[in-house]
Amino acid sequence: HLHVRVEQVKLLDRFSNKSVTGTLHLTATHLIFVESNSTSAQEIWILHHHIASVEKLSLTTSGCPLLIQCRNFRLVHFVIPRERDCHDIYSSLLRLLRPVSYDELYAFSYNPKQNDQQREEGWQLIDLAAEFERMGVPCDQWQLTDVNREYKVCETYPRDLYVPITASKPIIVGSSKFRSKGRFPVLTYFYQEKKAAVCRCSQPLSGFSARCLEDEHMLQAISKANHNSRYIYVMDTRPKLNALANRAAGKGYENEDNYPNIRFQFVGIENIHVMRGSLQKLLEVMGTRSLSMTDYLVGLENSGWLRHIKAIMDAAIFLAKAVTDEGASVLVHCSDGWDRTAQVCALGSLLLDPYYRTIKGFMVLIEKDWISFGHKFADRCDQLDPDPKEVSPIFTQFLECVWQLTEQFPQAFEFSEWFLIQIHEHVHSCQFGNFLGNSQRQREDLQLKERTYSLWAHLLSEKQNYLNPVYSPSFAESHPVLEPSTQAYHFKFWRNMYHQYDRSMHPRQSILKHVYKVFLHLSLHSSEMTHAFLCLCAFPQKLQTFGVSTSPLKPQTPPRERSHPPRPQSLILGAPLLSRKEVQQEEDEEVFGEEAREDAPASTGGERTVEGSSATENGYGELKGSFDSKNEPAVVTLEFGVARMTC
């Protein structure tokens, strides 16, 4: 049983000279920092699974610095007074953040106080069979095959797969033997309107000249299943050079001469190693203190990050256009068909189908194209016994592409960016079972549905926190297919993701939070109006009951304890979003307790500033140091120093 506690630990701000003092706790699951200042006592909870690296820096006069980098882009810098304590924490963390077996992951000990039935219901929320039914599959051209029921044909695919009705078992099996990891072409999205299919697979083992009749038949079958088009597109999402190199290893890409009626296309998305390096470069630049605008823009360009995001988006747009404009079916693959293929299929489907832009639909999309088709979350997100070469921000890129779309189409999505960020948080947290392991089969072996909880149920229970207030279902009717612009200037740095925890970077007032609050008030107002009307109507007749009927209008202070699991505070939104109840209270205060609510929200230290905005955090210039310690006479001498320097 572990609980280390160290007092007088300093937490340094990443971008300014500010620091706060508090107590550091190390528990079996979290590293917790509690600020000692009683007025603004902030708490920081860091899950061990979120920690990517711990670094002990060389000893300074004030203590021993400990630098912790997290997978959710949080970076904390502690200074621990005694070296021994620092070393204790350091070595315990090293042990804790390298779990060796799945059983050690948080999901297996996390207990949100639900009974078995609730847990099961949580897992039943997303039903992929129902999803394919929604798309109109099975139909006269596509059928469910049981060939992979026992994971015998492809270990990394789900059990239930949809193939053209003309694709017989021998064709499937033959084709699977000609594809990397046995990942033969299967249906992932069906565009009912044009009967066009989006299919996915891995690269063919064609080498320089190998052929496989079954595989050729398979593609024929996909083509024939769509009467609207005589050809299908085969999108190889890799750069051509990479695909060529794979030929030497007996893999490669489809030869148009051998596959009749295909239109072959490279789209040039880089591989996982390039993406990993790119994010690393991006984070390095963004982590620089007193970053200049030039270094920022040059760094953004050199990291290539936005170029990669745009490449993925371009590919998805190509897919969507082929399906809608030409009514053609599309087969997407990369090397193994679980990284770039997942990105392009998922994003393409999102462009094609408004359902995936709703909260529930987005969950279904992730469940289908990422989880069930075997995106290797455990490897890519570094869950267990990591191989650093397997780690890559592929899923993060997908979330970012969706965010870029929400920027262009603010009314198209039911969810706000906070939803995306929250999913990203939990892909790495290992708190829920959904993303554990690398494939459906592995998840079954781990009995996740029996032993862990589903993230989707948790997110749906907090659904109101993730709503986009300007979402308009009628937008989906007028824009069933999204056609984003791919002009470079539409792609922006996603500050709220990569600087999620850097308070000083964010807008000090959030439009989203503001409108969202109003949004919650709206529904309250309408219900309250009905209520008040009823009271008024009932008034002359029911004098006695009057006192009772007004009571709901009075401030309610339910003593009920909130049993939320520790949730990272949303810095983007300034503070955790209010629950309905809290809004209700605030509302009441507005009427009944006006004197209690000053115009100016109470901010820290009696400063005359908007909450969260501070002159000291930003470091505008030479004066910065002096203002941090206002009452010290050093202020003036420092300024003299500056003055001397300038003369």
């Binding site: 200049s292 539409h490 792609f491 740095f493 500050r495 109006m529 005359r608 505008y620």
Partner: protein, 528 residues
């Protein structure tokens, strides 16, 4: 001079207008003394009315006898006119060129414009300097109204000049004042001026300190000495500490704007090219520099309680950017529409920012810039950055800033004509032209500029100046390059939600009041 002389072909039929994201319009092109007009003569289509003054440059192209004129406007819009007939096209082009580059101010449109609306509140009478400074403490020593004579001061009288120049008090918070000035004329031999020293030192009580923020680097300030300028020597101004910040001189800005707009108009879709061009334009760096300096000035006042004197060389460009932004950060009044108008009137118009020179050309100017520089646009960009970071703290929205940008460059109103108060008086603008304020402050117009999220607060708003927090002002620089339909609709939806909520809130409150009233009326009955 008659405008007719410049218009060889006043009318051409069958002209086709191409605008990005809008259907092409075929119609009749008319040239008047001040406008280029294209009308399809159909009821449902919008007519194009373009002020010649808004035209920055034109390009001509010919394919056979079909001529094409590309009109590039100061508000950054680019439109294309296909004109049948080579002669007509050449005539139109030369007329536009002549009419858009008229030298004489008195030929400008504001002198001909008669308002179609009733002037309820005359903008020229709105901001008398005494009024603008009224809320500030009695520290005001001189204000630009008296400077009408100042600009005519003979060169020899430089010392008086300094004293007067240095004495514009602008803004006070708790006894700390913010002032602006031009550089002192110390020269290479370190000339002194007793009056200037007295004046500047007199603004500080005993024991108080002040900061002089020189918007030039120390090297630039040193260089200025060789041209008779310079900076305050510490020994002569004992209570003051000088800080140098590097804000680019105005002449570099024009180049920066040209490059930025070129980058924004690049349709190549390449990410690397876009980012490197954006970086090379240096525009965003300038936004960061100015905001940083303004924050520093505000910090001196708010956190140190110290007085601040801001100056660069002339005190009419970077100085004004810094002082006006610092006030927006510190003073909630400047974040209201009226307050912002007062700020522009006081810190820009009356402070003598040479609008006419600076805004003579915009991003599509071909020639070598003379004194053109987007100093004011850069200031508006900085305001927009703060607005983005504090979306609930401003009474106005982005549209107001864009409107100021447009009118500073080309307008039917006289407000931004001339280069200083003296010139404006000489031009008799207040008698001969309509003020921009007369138009903006009409309730019908104001509505467009109101920020639905506004919730007044009396706080200081410290913006983040990290590059990650500063964005490209798309509303201006990408305005004509993208379709904003989706964004506009979302914005409308937001306004709708907020308004509906207010409406409901009022209803709920009135119902509650009724209930409460009934309750009190009846309570004696319940407890007899």
């Amino acid at each position: 001079m008659e405008f007719a002389e410049l218009i060889k072909t006043p009318r051409v039929d069958g002209v086709v207008l191409h605008r990005p994201f809008m259907p092409t319009v075929e119609g009749t092109l008319c040239l008047t003394g001040h406008h280029l007009i294209l009308s399809s003569r159909q009821d449902n289509t919008e007519e194009l009315w373009l002020l010649h003054a808004n035209i920055d440059s034109i390009e001509k192209r010919f394919v056979g006898s079909l001529g094409t004129i590309i009109v590039k406007c100061k508000d950054l819009r680019v439109i294309q006119l296909d004109i049948p007939g080579m002669e007509e096209c050449l005539n139109i082009a030369s007329s536009i060129e002549a009419l858009s580059t008229l030298d004489s101010v008195s030929l400008m449109y504001p002198f001909f414009y008669r308002p179609l609306f009733e002037v309820i509140e005359d903008g020229w009478q709105l901001f008398v300097p005494e009024e603008a400074f009224k809320d500030l403490e009695s520290m005001v020593l001189f204000y630009p109204w008296n400077e009408t004579t100042l600009f005519g001061l003979p060169k020899e009288d430089e010392e008086d000049n300094i004293a007067l120049w240095s004495a514009e008090s602008a803004f006070t918070v708790d006894e700390a004042v913010m002032m602006r000035a031009a550089q002192p004329l110390t020269g290479t031999n370190g000339r002194r001026c007793k009056e200037d020293e007295k004046l500047i030192n007199a603004t500080l009580c005993a024991g108080k300190r002040g900061y002089i923020i020189d918007t030039r680097t120390i090297a630039v300030a040193q260089q200025a000495k060789t041209r008779g300028g310079g900076f305050e020597q510490e020994a002569n101004y004992p209570q003051w500490r000088r800080i140098h910040k590097a804000i680019e001189r105005s002449n570099v800005l024009q180049d920066s704007l040209i490059k930025l707009v070129e980058a924004c108009n690049d349709q190549s879709h390449s990410m690397d090219r876009w980012l490197s061009k954006l970086e090379a334009s240096n525009w965003q760096s300038k936004v960061k520099e100015i905001l940083t300096t303004a924050c520093l000035a505000a910090q001196c006042i708010d956190r140190e309680g110290a007085s601040v004197l801001v100056h660069g060389t002339e005190g009419t460009d970077s100085t004004l950017q810094v002082t006006s932004l610092a006030q927006i950060i510190l003073d909630p009044a400047c974040r209201t529409i009226r307050g912002f108008e007062v700020l522009i009137e006081r810190e820009w118009l009356q402070a003598g920012h040479p609008f006419q020179q600076r805004c003579a050309q915009s991003a599509y100017s071909n020639g070598k810039p003379r004194s053109e520089a987007p100093v004011f646009l850069l200031f508006l960009d900085c305001v927009w950055q703060i607005l983005r970071q504090f979306p609930c703290s401003f009474q106005f929205n982005e549209n107001l800033l864009i409107m100021f940008f447009e009118h500073a460059y080309a307008s039917q109103f006289g407000t931004f004509l001339g280069n200083c108060v003296a010139e404006r008086v000489k031009l008799q603008l207040s008698q001969k032209t309509v003020s921009l304020w007369s138009w903006v402050n009409r309730p019908q117009e104001l509505e467009r500029f109101l920020n639905p999220l506004y919730e007044p607060n009396n706080l200081v708003i410290w913006p983040s100046v990290a590059p990650q927090s500063l964005l490209l002002w798309e509303g201006v620089f990408l305005r004509w390059n993208r379709s904003t339909k989706c964004l506009d609709e979302a914005c409308q939806e937001m306004v709708h939600i907020i308004e509906y909520n207010k409406e409901l809130q009022n209803k709920v409150n009135s119902l509650r009041r009724q209930l409460a009233q009934l309750e009190t009326e009846d309570s004696p009955l319940q407890t007899p």
